[in-house]
């Protein structure tokens, strides 16, 4: 039996909003095996994004232990967390979060820049990633000149280019029309099929249906909704 890719033990996240202490994520125990596609649903403000930020090592758990690929990331220094984000985790956000002054190609190159990859190799891999999402012809365009669907595909290419083990998608279709949304979901399905572990945050049940495993989160409490046996 292989160790889970993600293992959270009593992980909680609270933060202060003025004088108020907000429990964004109440203590959660969770294991996610490699190659799983987990859909997390819940209403706005339920703690979905907080969970994603903790899973993505963008935010630190206030308490508990989080093992990512067998490594306790709750105690890592900033530079090690940056390396984890850079090498293991791909991000796709609802608002795309692309560098607006940079071309699609340069956006896709960004993770490789911080991985110390040489320029020629960066360009080659970015071109391949853009080709994989069908945007070779738009490589020289800045995000402002791309449609929402294209911007999200650039974001997926940026995640793809580092060949992540974990892809975190936060409402990836939230800002897209249905055709573009379907195309993006098809790409996430394809990544899942290639063995990438996907955590899909959404409030849309149709999108959540793409997950082989579904969780719900409400008031910071995570609960299992449905589990499908691997390979089903």
């Amino acid at each position: 039996m292989t160790a889970p890719l993600l293992k959270l033990s009593r992980v909680a996240r609270t933060y202060r909003n003025g004088d108020v202490l907000v429990e964004a994520l109440k203590p959660v125990d969770l294991e996610v095996d490699a190659g799983t596609c987990v859909a997390v649903t819940g209403p706005s403000g339920s703690g979905k994004s907080t969970l994603l930020h903790v899973l993505g090592c963008l935010d630190r758990a206030t308490s508990g232990t989080y093992l990512l690929d067998g490594r306790d990331v709750t105690t890592l220094a900033d530079r090690d967390l940056a390396a984890v984000r850079n090498r293991l985790i791909g991000f796709v956000f609802q608002r795309f979060h692309l560098l607006r002054d940079e071309t699609a190609e340069r956006n896709v190159e960004l993770p490789l820049l911080y991985a110390g990859v040489r320029r020629a190799e960066r360009r080659r891999r970015a071109a391949a990633a853009l080709e994989a999402v069908g945007l070779s012809s738009r490589a020289a365009h800045v995000p402002g000149r791309l449609s929402g669907g294209e911007q999200q595909r650039v974001a997926i290419a940026r995640a793809l280019v580092k060949e992540p083990r974990l892809l975190l998608a936060d409402e990836p279709t939230g800002n897209l029309d249905s055709a573009s949304g379907d195309a993006v979901l098809a790409m996430l399905d394809a990544l899942h099929a290639r063995g990438v572990t996907v955590v899909l945050i959404t409030h849309d049940p149709e999108v959540a249906a793409h997950g082989s495993r579904q969780l719900t989160i409400r008031n910071g409490v995570v609960a299992e909704v449905h589990a499908t046996a691997p390979g089903a």
Partner: protein, 420 residues
Amino acid sequence: MSSLLAAFVEGVRHLRRHPLRAALAALTCAVAIAVTVNVVSLSYGMDEDIRRDIARFGRLTIDVGRAPVVRPGAPRASFGEAELATVRATVAGLDATVVPLRSERVTASGDAEVRQMVLAAVGVGFPRTLAISLKAGRFLRPEDRGLAACVLDESSAKSLFPGVAPAAVVGRTVRLARAAPADVPVVGVLEDPMTYRALFEAFDEGRGARTLISALLSFRNVYVPEDAIASAELTTVSVVLPDEARLATAYDRLVKVWPAGGVDADPATLAPINVFARKAWMDAFGGATQTGAFLGNIVWILVCLVACVMISTLNLVAIRERYDELAIRRCEGARRRDVVAQVAAEGLVTSVVGGLAGLPLGVLGADVLARIVMFPFRFDARFAGVAVLVSVVLGLLSSAIPARRAAALDPAAVLSRRLS
């Protein structure tokens, strides 16, 4: 290392995409560097001029003479041939040139009526006590006797013959209002070593006025042959030594005969006859110019500090507008030090570019200022190095706080819009 270099390159790319903001920061730096170059060039120029001027006062000369002021009721000491003989005997064997000088106050007139001047009866060896050349004509010769000829200091020539060039003053006549008025032909004009006469006079009126040589070294004299003043009394005896070692020996010997008169000596404490080393007087005068250089340094440091605050504020505003970009970079693997490197690179590049632009601006500004206020301006190649160094420090200082702010940014807070 390679990712730090990449962060640096990213910083430069960012500047190219935001040229107006970069230009504003660079311009601020350029002004600061221009002021720095300007002030340093001017103070360096003035310092160089003053050092050159005081180097002409005869560093290897010792003066022995009566105190210019005596205590009320105290008898005026005799200072004549006997004392001259003592000086000669004391410095014997040191290859010294001994130059006696008699002086008296006199009202002189040329084209214009002037106030009192110093009439100095000097030997032909007098020029050896100074390092001043003739502006026009010649100095006194052995065959010049009595009031048959005089040499003017350039400042005296300007007072007596306003608007007349030194060469044209030679051949004119100076009327000396003595007991027996005399018209004395001018045979030469000595150049004025005082580039900044006002500065010298401020010093002279303050610290140096009490020394017996300060009146003579104001270079407003009329020099006449040795026998033109019949008095048996001497004003000073100047001793010129060939080198510093023999200067020290002569001084040590002379102060065993007469006490040393300090530059800042109080008339009440001066002995009737004193020994003055011009070297000490020159050092004191040179030291007085350091105050000006110090004030100049304060000015450019303050201007640089203000520029630093302004650029830092600009950078802070820019960082606030770039939260999204920085959060995305952190999200994709940028370490805090990568962010610091990028922001520092941006600050450094704008400052160095501004510094390089400010360098010619400062040179030009100093040149214009020099023409307007007639202050000297000396640009030294080393200033370019100093300007670049100041730019680098300015760039690093002005980006320190913004870089820290950028590195401390919480990407999760930005991406979830808890921070914007």
